[in-house]
Amino acid sequence: MSTDNSANYGPQEYLFYRLLSRLDEEGKLNSLYRTRLWKLACETDYYLQNDLKRDIQFPRYWYQYGEIPKIDDLNTDFYSVSKNAEYRSILLTQRLERGAFVLTNDVREDIDRAVDWIVEKFLETDTYDIKDYHYENRAPNDFIRTFDNFRDELDDADFDQSALSQFVGKNDNGKGEKEELLDRLNQLVKTYPEDYDVMETAFLKWEDTMRLLIQNEEEEKAEELLELFWRYLSKAELRIHHNQNITERELEKWQQERDSNRDGFRDTLREYRDEILLEREQEDILTDEEVQDEYLRSLDLPVPDATE
């Protein structure tokens, strides 16, 4: 460890290092997914801020699967991610001494306490449940929470099975799987935040397209489109509105990318939507006549009599 580097390890790096060391002591590093480490680091910062009233300027922001640390802003060269084909486990590559970190004793003690508390609390909790805990307790609005529920429900859904359930009965609340998913989409519209204005119309078109895909039982496409939407929404809205300690330069870059992210999403969405609308238009001959009648009525023109 060079002296030059040590100056770069501050309280935020210490939080990470301490967390990794504790997990290592517990023998949990081998099977540690990156996403789990990130959630635990963010939860440690929540504990520091909320319970110990200690702000260490930890950089984090909301993204696709919850909140993540802005890892590029930290000097975390003491760990690496193994390229194991099965899963990406974490390796602690350097052992650092106390003196390697520049921070006061008070801050060090608070971080130690926070890390101990978090490791104890979540040691035996699986990653999926940590993610759920995080969304339930930290999501900045109902929309994000509702979306996560929708994502889980779509993931669990089995339309083939749900077709069978028509014969063997419905879910506990008397609704079918598809119906529940469609209700959840309505809930997403109701809770869409006013300040997510860049993606607003893209969201509404996505929501309607998801509805059509679910009605058509196109499970795979629905899952693809869900992931795609959330990735773009994360870039164009989530990380912009929900972040802390992100540099001005980075925020400016994110702002500049907002419109192109939205346009990129709309272009891809267009392909899904055109295909499904075309199918409907070709199949919907009867509805089309009804529409035509309504259309003429709206113009104050007589509707042609079928017997004419």
Partner: protein, 222 residues
């Protein structure tokens, strides 16, 4: 006036996109002529080009507005059964008067929704409308192509072009296209436009009638 009509790009857009600001007058104009068997209408290569340039953007703009309206309706606390009072509330609070769809959607509620209607059914109808606005224009354009004649002008009429110089070049090209149709067919021809600012007001109608073979300029902007 019985005679031929030349449709400018705004009228073609209005016919293909009923929910456009000019949708109602353009559709009425063409549909009435179809109904009494008097439609003898033309469109030109310039009109086609302008239409192609604006078609998909127009479809997105209008269906986005219907989607935003639908979102406002979904976010409002409305009764389970929508009656006349609730529709008035919807029109007052869920519709931005600056939207292109604003004048037509009010008529849509008036004529196409049988009251009372269940809230869920209304949202379904709004979704159907949103999809219709997005996809129906292709079919409407095909219908219009079959009902009207495509015309390509091969004369640049430089002296008339100079006399119409105060008109912006793209509108001027449309005037010359219409003039060419009138001259070749030897019939009375009406230029139907949704652009009164450039082709009717401030003496423009008189200028066009005086300098070209166009007999009338019809305002279909409202």
């Amino acid at each position: 006036m019985v005679g031929a009509s030349f449709l400018d790009t705004g009228v073609v857009i209005g016919y293909c996109f009923y929910f456009d600001r000019h949708g109602l007058p353009s559709t009425r104009y063409i549909t009435n002529k179809v109904k009494n068997g008097s439609l003898d209408a033309y469109r030109s290569d310039n009109v086609e080009r302008e239409f192609q340039q604006r078609q998909s953007e127009k479809a997105q703009e209008l269906s986005d507005e219907v989607a935003l309206h639908r979102k406002e309706v979904q976010q409002q606390s409305l009764p389970k059964t929508i009656d006349k009072v609730a529709v008035q509330k919807i029109l007052d609070t869920c519709l931005d008067p600056d939207w292109d769809i604003a004048p037509t959607i009010a008529k849509w509620y008036n004529r196409n929704i049988s009251l009372p209607i269940e809230y869920g059914k209304l949202v379904k109808k709004l979704r159907a409308l949103e999809r219709l606005v997005e996809s129906r224009h292709n079919r409407k354009k095909k219908d219009l192509d079959q009902m009207t004649e495509y015309h390509e002008r091969d004369d640049s009429y430089p002296s008339i072009d100079t006399k119409l110089m105060e008109i912006h070049w793209d509108d001027r090209s449309i005037c010359l296209d219409a003039h060419d149709v009138a001259k070749k067919n030897g019939t009375k021809l009406e230029l139907a436009t949704t652009n009164p600012k450039d082709l009717i007001k401030n003496g423009r109608r008189g200028l066009v009638k005086r300098e070209t073979a166009i007999s009338q300029v019809r305002d279909l902007s409202r």
